[in-house]
């Protein structure tokens, strides 16, 4: 794998990157002509993404030096996990313990995914593999962990009568919540499953495109992409399941009563308005 990294065959120059900004200009013009009111958001997001990636690029350049200690990379991964869990809490304020659940889920997923990838020698455990792969695990899991948490809280709130009817039959809290948790996990996983199914036909994923643009042999790029896709699918499933099951425990008391839950319909409406 080592020869894949550091390829610069098709790396754009700084000047050509500025030229690429013309594409952002197209988006801005469209926003103005169609009166979408998104010009400032488009410009701000483009600027922010550029600055963020530049900072990350400089930092990564330093961290992935071959003789650099792996501990620095693990620290990077830890920061990644904390930031992702914090994002979970911001995006799903109605989910109790969203931060802690996020940390636990990402750590569980990283342990499983990286354990397989490095344990079976699919990728070598090096600074230049650890950070990007961890980033893929955490980054791709973020949306589904937010979604599954919000769905579970909303379902258990909206169908409280049914949950309590199940509890009254002598079901445990996990049995009573099972249909709703299962439905929420399925909803959160379906986009990732559909993406995995469509890969190569409907779209070419980023890692593969990046490698090909950087001059790698397409077959080698495909092999890397296959490993990455499996990694993402496994990681998203793990984080979603951990959040789903962990959250269920938090929403019930030890004596199998459903705690009072916030009415998320008003939250959903206000978020939808934005």
């Amino acid at each position: 794998m080592a020869e894949l990294f550091g390829l610069e065959a098709a790396a754009p120059s700084a000047l050509s990157l500025i030229a690429a900004l013309a594409l952002v200009g197209v988006a801005v013009v469209l926003s103005i002509t169609q009166r979408l009111g998104l010009e400032r958001s488009i410009l701000w997001s483009a600027l922010r993404a550029g600055v963020q990636l530049a900072i990350i690029g400089v930092a990564l350049h330093f961290v992935v030096e071959p003789d650099q200690s792996l501990w620095l990379c693990w620290l990077w991964v830890a920061v990644m996990v904390v930031f992702a869990a914090w994002t979970n809490r911001q995006r799903a304020p109605e989910v109790p313990g969203a931060f802690t659940l996020g940390v636990v889920a990402y750590l569980a997923s990283l342990s499983v995914s990286l354990g397989v990838l490095f344990g079976f020698g699919i990728f070598p455990l090096e600074s230049r593999t650890l950070i990007p792969l961890s980033g893929m695990v955490v980054g791709n899991s973020l949306a589904s962990t937010v979604l599954v948490g919000r769905r579970i809280v909303a379902e258990l709130h909206d169908r409280r009568d049914e949950v309590e009817a199940r509890l009254a039959l002598g079901m445990t809290s996990s049995e009573a919540a099972h249909p709703f948790v299962r439905s929420a996990i399925r909803t959160a996983l379906i986009p990732q499953i559909e993406t995995t199914k469509a890969v190569g036909i409907v779209f070419l994923p980023g890692a593969m495109v990046g490698l090909i643009l950087a001059g790698a042999d397409p077959l080698t790029a495909v092999k890397v992409q296959i490993a990455v896709m499996y990694l993402i699918l496994g990681a998203v499933t793990t984080t979603t399941a951990v959040v789903g099951l962990g959250l269920t425990r938090q929403l019930f008391t030890p004596d199998h009563r459903l705690v009072r839950l916030p009415d998320t319909s008003t939250m959903r409406e206000s978020k939808g308005d934005k």
Binding site: D161, E164, A165, R166, A168, L169, G170, P179, R257
Partner: protein, 213 residues
């Protein structure tokens, strides 16, 4: 004779609201105990204390002498069944609904399910029908049959006829009487005084979170 349920200085405060205040009362074993009182007086909350869907903030509730907080809630709820004000059927057929009430490793055959439906006056032929297409009265009777699958000894009924027409309400009242006559203890909540008069072997009246009776 030891009471079935006994409440000792039970109180429940929800935020700033006093729902129950220093309730001391007993529910005897056998027959139908009717819990009456105006809307919002705390009847349903009191009933939910008996199967621990709600817990008091003060005082003790006992079941056959044992404090409820020392009993396994899952086992308790299979002994003390409950039907709710609004019939809540689960997704699937009537058979699926009845099977949902089976204990782990227990099975309910198609024939047994039909017998359970007949026991609450439903046509056994609807056993494979989607539960969502039942009328309100049929759905409430299905919920009752589902509760009976647990072999409960006590039936808590939280205004089970309030959303039903008069004919369906009569059927449920008749069933409650049959169950009580066969040895089951029924605790029935209602704000309808005429219904209370028809059903009550024993009566508790609750008003502003306090119980007389």
């Amino acid at each position: 004779m030891e009471p079935l349920f006994e409440m000792e200085h039970v109180g429940l405060i929800d935020g700033d609201t006093v729902v129950l205040s220093d309730v001391c009362a007993k529910v005897v074993e056998g027959g139908i105990t009717v819990l009456t009182g105006p809307s919002g007086s705390g009847k349903s909350t009191l009933l939910r204390l008996f199967n621990r869907l709600t817990v008091p903030t003060s005082g003790i509730v006992r079941f056959r002498g044992d404090p409820l907080d020392q009993l396994d809630p899952v086992a308790l709820r299979r002994q003390v069944g409950m039907v709710f004000q609004r019939p809540t059927t689960f997704d699937g057929t009537c058979l699926d609904n009845l099977r949902a009430a089976c204990a782990p490793r227990e099975e309910l055959t198609h024939d047994h399910a039909a017998v359970m439906l007949a026991r609450v006056g439903l046509n056994p032929e609807i056993v494979d029908r989607d539960s969502r297409v039942l009328s309100g009265g049929e759905a409430q009777r299905l919920c009752l049959a589902r509760t009976l699958v647990t072999n409960c000894e006590v039936l808590l009924a939280d205004e089970p006829t309030s959303s039903l027409d008069a004919a369906s309400a009569n059927v449920l009242e008749r069933l409650a009487r049959e169950f009580a006559d066969s040895g089951m203890t029924v605790v029935w909540v209602t704000h309808d005084d005429a219904q209370a008069d028809r059903l009550a072997d024993h009566r508790l009246t609750i008003e502003n979170g306090r119980v007389d009776g």
